[in-house]
């Protein structure tokens, strides 16, 4: 029997029901065995798991009623310190417990088994197994050689490269097969005798078989597989994870977005150009069915690519999480103290889902604003007799006043202090988990070679003096005991070293000699409201919603424009949407009148165009799932629902316009012909 005949026979075998059933049972058995093996081995490892214990509690006073005020205050402080210590110990133990957390492993086994079973029932069981064996045969020797050969030996560098190459090939192979399997699943789900699904399935075939699409897909898979190799192992683990999340997720989104735009525009525009659409629209297919089918096929391809990429990112982050952090001898085993700072920040701030609260800002009363405005108007008139009291000019003055008020509140002169209140922290108080105070300070030009001493005072905590470089984000872990019963946290920031002042009040060097200021987004308190894994899923949903919207933009443009023009429009809308936040901020400073109140026509036109654009895409630009994921910020289900409503509404509106345009088109004519 020839090899091709044998392969054909094997191909037929893997599509039989009997084979699928047997293979499924085998996969389940193997998954169970793997889980059991892990559990048994885990019990042995857990025996020497470090765990923090609280110091013994101070005995309570015999008769609290007999205490004087000072003693009562000291008692209260001791109680608050005890509560703070309890919260910290619990937080540390939770993080250390993640080392022993079997969730990651069980999740990987479950996902792997699920994928394997899916592959089997798609009729690709033997194909997948063959690929696995080939990858193992190629990559394992390279990996083992890289691990065994000492780096300092003559073959050390080559062996190191071989090891990296083996990891790259393995990742590429797994990602590629995952992509093929999911595409097969997508095609199977679109195989019904319905017009819309037939058109959608055709788009999926086009994506896989046309060279332009394949280039993007290969580029994406290569980039994802190569990214881990670009991470510098000497950088803190939290930065490596953030970098990988940023480039893995953000890079995936941009590559898939470009593919979506090209594919959606091409599949509609080229069919009209090449007249292939004649043979579709002379069948009983309504315009709305045709366009919906095209859109469905494109978002299906986008979903597959996003799923494969996100699975790769997620699994690699889980792998990174179990690597050594800076200051650890092994994963979760700190060299000094209960937990390494790198590990703590990674678990508490990066691989988390946190909500943020800014401080309450001062506001002028109505009368105060009125007085201030009068003064400003008078000064403006004195400075320029031609200055006119128009609505726009006065509004600009009011905005200026508010900004200056906030700026002065956020700025601290040398030796001065300011009190900041953060409200709405009841959830954190109830959960009794530490919160993160995150800040960024500007010192003049922010010379990176200079640092400044800044003091922070929190209730129930010792004063914290930080060495702060200008322009860099820093964090302080704050005990939940510092939050009062109303869910408020008060913090005092001092421009100087308060401990130095306490030691020697006469020493003038305790202050910095420069004014420091918090930027508007440079002072915030974060607290955990969810898990990283749930947040990751919501982030992917938001990214897919954005891609679905972009796909409809492209389909809409292609209904009445040629391919190059439609591509230009679609990409233009994409870039506008991504930069709408910057546009909104810029429009605040962009007046359509000059200082003399003369209207400038071109400025009016620019504002007239830019304002609705910024407004239309405001939600799109403010929905920054990748940034939130990297910063460990929560994307809630409410946000996802809002995204569905807003992005879905915009998508539907564009679809309606596209249908109307398409129905009116004469398909036997093409743009330019």
């Amino acid at each position: 029997m020839k090899l091709s005949e044998r392969l054909s026979a094997l191909n037929r075998l893997q599509k039989t029901t009997m084979f699928k059933v047997v293979a499924t049972v085998l996969v389940l058995v193997l998954a169970g065995a793997a889980s059991a093996t892990y559990v048994v081995g885990k019990a042995a490892r857990d025996a020497d798991m470090p765990r923090l214990e609280l110091p013994p509690e101070e005995p309570a006073p015999a008769d609290p009623a007999k205490l004087n005020d000072a003693e009562k205050q000291a008692n209260e402080l001791a109680l608050q310190s005890r509560r703070a210590a309890e919260a910290n110990v619990r937080a540390f133990n939770e993080i250390l417990a993640r080392r022993a957390d079997p969730t990651s492993v069980f999740l990987a086994i479950a996902v792997g088994a699920g994928v394997a079973i899916g592959v089997v029932w798609l009729g690709l069981g033997l194909t997948g197994l063959s690929l696995l064996l080939i990858l193992a045969a190629v990559c394992l020797p390279m990996y083992i050689a890289g691990a065994k050969v000492p780096p300092e030996s003559a073959f050390g560098p080559i062996a190191g490269k071989a090891r990296e190459a083996s990891q790259f090939l393995a990742a590429l192979g797994v990602l590629s097969f995952g992509f093929l399997a999911l595409m097969e699943l997508l095609r199977a789900s679109l195989s019904g005798p319905y017009r819309i699904t037939a058109i959608a399935r055709n788009v999926v075939n086009e994506a896989v078989r046309m060279k332009v699409s394949v280039v993007f897909i290969v580029m994406l898979l290569f980039a994802l597989a190569a990214l881990p190799g670009l991470l510098d192992e000497s950088t803190p683990l939290r930065y490596r994870v953030q970098s990988f999340l940023q480039y893995g997720t953000g890079g995936t989104f941009w590559i898939v977005a470009v593919l979506v735009l090209f594919l959606a525009v091409g599949t509609v525009a080229f069919e009209q150009r090449d007249k292939i659409i004649w043979q579709t629209m002379t069948k009983p297919v309504a315009g709305w069915q045709y366009l919906f089918g095209k859109w469905l096929g494109v978002v299906g391809v986008a979903a597959v690519l996003l799923a494969v990429s996100s699975a790769g990112v997620f699994l690699f982050v889980e792998y990174l999480r179990n690597q050594k952090a800076i200051g650890e001898d092994a994963a979760y085993v700190a060299r000094e103290g209960p937990i390494a700072e790198d590990r703590f920040i990674l678990e508490n701030q990066v691989l988390s889902a946190r909500a943020g609260r800014g401080p309450e800002m001062p506001e002028l009363t109505r009368e105060g604003m009125g007085e201030e405005l009068k003064g400003r108007i008078e000064r403006a008139r004195q400075a320029d007799p031609n200055w006119s009291q128009t609505q726009e000019n006065v509004t600009a003055l009011a905005i200026q006043i508010e900004k200056e008020l906030r700026s002065s509140y956020l700025a601290l002169e040398p030796g001065s202090q300011e009190r900041f209140r953060f409200t709405g922290l009841s959830h954190a108080k109830e959960a009794n988990t530490p919160v993160t105070f995150r800040f960024r300070l500007d010192f003049g030009s922010n010379d990176p070679r200079q640092t400044f001493k800044v003091s922070f005072l929190f209730p129930a905590m010792a004063p914290r003096v930080q060495e702060v470089p200008g322009g860099q984000t820093m964090t302080i872990i704050v005990s939940p005991a510092a939050i009062n019963e109303k869910g408020e946290l008060e913090m005092i920031a001092i421009n100087g070293d308060i401990l130095k002042r306490i030691d020697d009040p006469q020493d003038p060097t305790w202050t910095n000699d420069i004014t420091m200021s918090f930027p508007p987004d440079g002072i915030e308190v974060f607290y955990a409201v969810g898990t990283y894994r749930g947040n990751f899923l919501r982030v992917m949903l938001c990214l897919w919603l954005k891609l679905a919207f972009l796909a409809m933009v492209a389909v809409w443009a292609a209904t009445f424009l040629s391919f190059p023009v439609a591509s230009l429009v679609a990409f233009g809308v994409f870039l506008m949407a991504e930069s709408a936040g910057f546009l909104s901020n810029s429009l605040e400073y962009y007046a359509s009148v000059d200082a003399q109140g003369n209207v400038e026509a071109y400025r009016v036109i620019v504002r007239a165009i830019a304002t609705p654009v910024a407004g239309t895409f405001k939600f799109y630009s403010e929905l920054r799932p990748t940034t939130n994921l990297v910063d460990g910020r929560m994307i809630s289900w409410a946000t996802v629902a809002q995204a569905v409503a807003v992005m879905g509404g915009l998508t539907l509106a564009l679809y309606a316009v596209a249908v109307v345009v398409f129905r009116r088109r004469e398909l036997a004519t093409y743009s330019g012909q």
Binding site: P193, Y194, R195, T197, A198, I199, N202, N205, E206, R209, M210, D274, K275, I276, W278, Q279, T280, M281, T282, K283, P284, V285, A286, E666, L667, A668, T669
Partner: protein, 419 residues
């Protein structure tokens, strides 16, 4: 070896010579149609169709002829809803062309094959079949039959981009028939096809016509149109220049053609003398020539011989009986239902059976006793309306023929029968 279907004489399709057969209801009604193309600034650039009116009746094969730029394709595209009319009235199966439902009964073959290059033949037909909402069993059966009919079964899994133009054309024909349409619109259907394929298409058109399908045929190959259509309209400059049946448009009223076995010069001279005598010198033989075999027939003969000799060829096979579903043959459950219906029919009365003569089957015995009949390959006859023209008796001078055959009493001395 699959045979090419025998072409039935076109005359058999007509009940009255020169007129379309039964079914007077209109399938396509075009009244005062006009189409003006405008530029971006809405200035008139081209008046492609100008006050065109015609009707296509159910069951007829209608020809749409004209040179390039005459408005044929524009008219067809308006019928299909690919263009919007500027003025006039157009209905297809009593509905507007823009009606999606009417397209379930249409089949369309454009002048070029506009196919998805990344699909193979099977996938292409499956895709279009799904657009008609056909379920999987019907789809699979029709696809198999159509691929066999167009001779692409062996190459059905190759992508369309690897096909020759003729092969792509065949797929185009197949997709136009996947839904067994009531109205078939064919724009240059034989473009890119070799003579065998052309013959097959023409035979298919005729067979579909016999099944009661309505066909609109647009072609530059006038011989193909002439062989197939019942009526035609000829366009030029967007206007109708002529309309009618083939016979009414093509017959020459002032000449007579007679075909006989080979004649020698003396006989021809005798015939000429006879004609002159009877017409008092007003008429004579104007041309004597040997009939020529059509090149198409010669080509087909050669190919048939090569196929009989089993010479190997790559590419499309000219397999293909017409697909069963196109011939109206019952399939699957439909067939079972018909068989059950027959069984349920009243049994033949015993008396009738008893009355049937009992005795040996004379036909069979005759065959057994006679010379064994060797089945002769049937010479493929051209798909031509002209093979057996039914000339109205009044148009032919029968006396001339009688004279030639020696059955005319006035000929004097002529023996009866063949000279």
């Amino acid at each position: 070896m699959p045979e090419l279907p025998t072409t039935t004489a076109r005359a058999a399709r007509t009940t009255v010579a020169g007129s379309p057969r039964a079914g007077a209801d209109l399938v396509v009604n075009v009244q005062h149609l006009s189409k003006v193309f405008r530029d971006f600034w809405l200035r008139q650039r081209v008046k492609a169709v100008d006050d065109v009116s015609f009707e296509v009746r159910r069951g007829e094969i209608f020809g749409l002829l004209g040179p390039n730029g005459s408005g044929k394709s524009t008219t067809i595209k308006i019928l299909l809803g690919l263009l919007h009319k500027t003025g006039g009235l157009v209905t297809v199966l009593d509905r507007l062309p823009s009606d999606v439902a009417v397209k379930a009964k249409l089949g369309y073959l454009p002048e070029e094959s506009y196919l998805y290059q990344f699909l193979n033949a099977r996938e292409t037909l499956d895709y279009y079949a799904k657009l008609f909402g056909l379920d999987s069993s019907v789809r699979e059966r029709r696809i198999d039959e159509l691929l066999d009919m167009v001779g692409l079964t062996a190459v059905q899994f190759r992508p369309v981009r690897e096909y020759s133009k003729g092969m792509q054309r065949r797929i185009g024909i197949a997709q136009a028939l996947i839904n067994d349409p009531e109205l078939l619109i064919l724009d240059e259907p034989t473009t890119g096809l070799d003579p065998l394929g052309t013959r097959q298409v023409k035979d298919l058109i005729l067979e579909l016509g016999r099944r009661g399908k309505t066909i609109i045929l647009s072609s530059h190959l006038l011989s193909d149109v002439e062989d197939c259509v019942d009526r035609m309209v000829i366009l030029y400059g967007g206007k109708v220049q002529a309309e009618g049946t083939c016979d009414s448009l093509l017959e020459s009223q002032d000449k007579t053609t007679i075909e006989s076995d080979a004649l020698d010069e003396a006989t021809i001279a005798e015939i000429d003398r006879l004609i002159r005598t009877r017409s008092n010198g007003a008429q004579a033989i104007t041309r004597v020539a040997r009939p020529r075999q059509r090149l198409e027939d010669l080509f087909i003969d050669i190919v048939e011989r090569a196929r009989a000799a089993k010479i190997v060829t790559a590419g499309a096979q000219h397999g293909g009986q017409t697909a069963a579903f196109l011939k109206g043959e019952a399939q699957g459950e439909q067939l079972i239902s018909q068989l059950i219906a027959k069984d349920d029919a009243a049994p033949t009365p015993v008396a009738a059976l008893a009355a049937a003569p009992r005795g040996p089957d004379q036909g069979v015995i005759g065959d057994l006793l006679g010379a064994p009949k060797v089945p002769q390959p049937q010479a493929p006859t051209p798909a031509s309306r002209a093979s057996e023209p039914a000339l109205p008796a009044a148009d032919v001078d029968q006396s001339v023929i009688s004279s030639l055959l020696g059955t005319d009493d006035t000929s004097g001395g002529q023996t009866k029968g063949k000279p």
